[in-house]
Assembly symmetry: C2
Homo-oligomer: 215 residues x 2
């Protein structure tokens, strides 16, 4: 697949870039916000395109042309306020879904957050506005008609990945290395059992490919 | 109809309360956030119930029991930050839709904002996060299966109403007295031509009842 990655400069996104670069099944086009980021990726041999989630759907659709799948791994980040949460994590995400449809792309993999579908789980969360944004972006993705996979990882760690995870519709709270989230996203791209499915993801005992077959 | 009003203490909401009190076709249950607000409404002869849009869907559904229609006229207000915009204008609104469905209520009238459906119209707006929240609340209402009407008024004024409006799917920017927004909301409740319709609303030349028949 030709994969269009939104959020290539993020902490999970950088792992996805590296894994896709090494992949024999997939090619990568990485979307970044600045020419500097694009130049740096190009030096590493990565195809990069400059576009902005705060721009128009048309701009995003043009950037996506020729891709077979969109991976959304962008996030407004912990340092920005809830206004950016609304503009990036919600509106930006939904614009990228509309752009995918406009560009004729059917496959869409979203990096979401543990239990984002379950309002009760985050009613007292300190990042509740972020969870609200992820909740509705996911909800709109499910209803979009796209062939989606929604990956909802637990607490993100920088430890090296183990390649072993637990994936299921509802899981207890747990942590997971960012590298394993990235591997799960890439493995899910062509895994039919992950089509039109949403699942929580934490560190576990199963190889990623096996875990995805048993969601 | 037994009308359940969310946002009874707001600036448009207070007009809706007064109009429904005088109505012969409808009865009113007003939802407010505090016992003090409820006591004050009860002194005026209005049935009031205390509930919170930041509470649970079940709490809202219980408060709505016995009603035939929900009117959503709440807003986080200009003084609060975008976190409240996410929690009230988006998540609170959608919770009230889910609560209506849980309580077996089919009719739902939303007070939205001029051109909220049209992302291009607010891309440079100073209240863009608010518009994002309204956009997605409206979008989810349209897809909810409820029998909705979405009223999208232009710039809200405190002048007395004239009873004359312009209502159409897409209108130029314009202003409208809050009292006329409230009258339009109440008139739309039983107007079948407004069922499953969304429209912009500004001051105009037609009687409200006639304008609603010609959307």
């Amino acid at each position: 697949m030709n994969v269009f990655l939104i959020g290539a400069n993020g902490q999970v996104g950088k792992h996805i870039v590296r894994i896709l670069k090494e992949s024999k099944e997939h090619t990568l086009k990485a979307m970044v916000r600045s020419e500097e980021q694009a130049a740096s990726l190009k030096e590493d041999g990565v195809t990069a395109v400059v576009a902005n989630l705060e721009g128009s759907v048309d701009e995003l659709a043009t950037a996506m042309e020729g891709s077979d799948a969109v991976v959304f791994s962008a996030g407004s980040g912990g340092k920005t306020g809830p206004d950016k949460t609304l503009l990036v994590d919600l509106d930006g995400a939904v614009k990228s879904m509309e752009a995918a449809q406009k560009a004729g792309i059917e496959r869409y993999v979203m990096v979401s957050a543990h239990q984002a579908h379950n309002r009760d789980s985050w009613k007292d969360s300190p990042i509740k506005p972020y969870m609200v944004a992820k909740h509705y972006a996911d909800k709109i993705l499910v209803e979009s008609g796209l062939n989606y996979t929604i990956v909802r990882p637990g607490g993100l760690e920088n430890d090296p990945g183990t390649g072993k995870v637990k994936a299921s519709e509802n899981l207890e709270r747990g942590n997971i290395p960012r590298e394993d989230v990235a591997r799960t996203v890439v493995t899910s791209l062509a895994e039919e059992n992950a089509y039109r499915r949403s699942f929580d993801l934490i560190a576990g005992e199963l190889e990623i490919a096996d875990a995805l077959k048993q969601i």
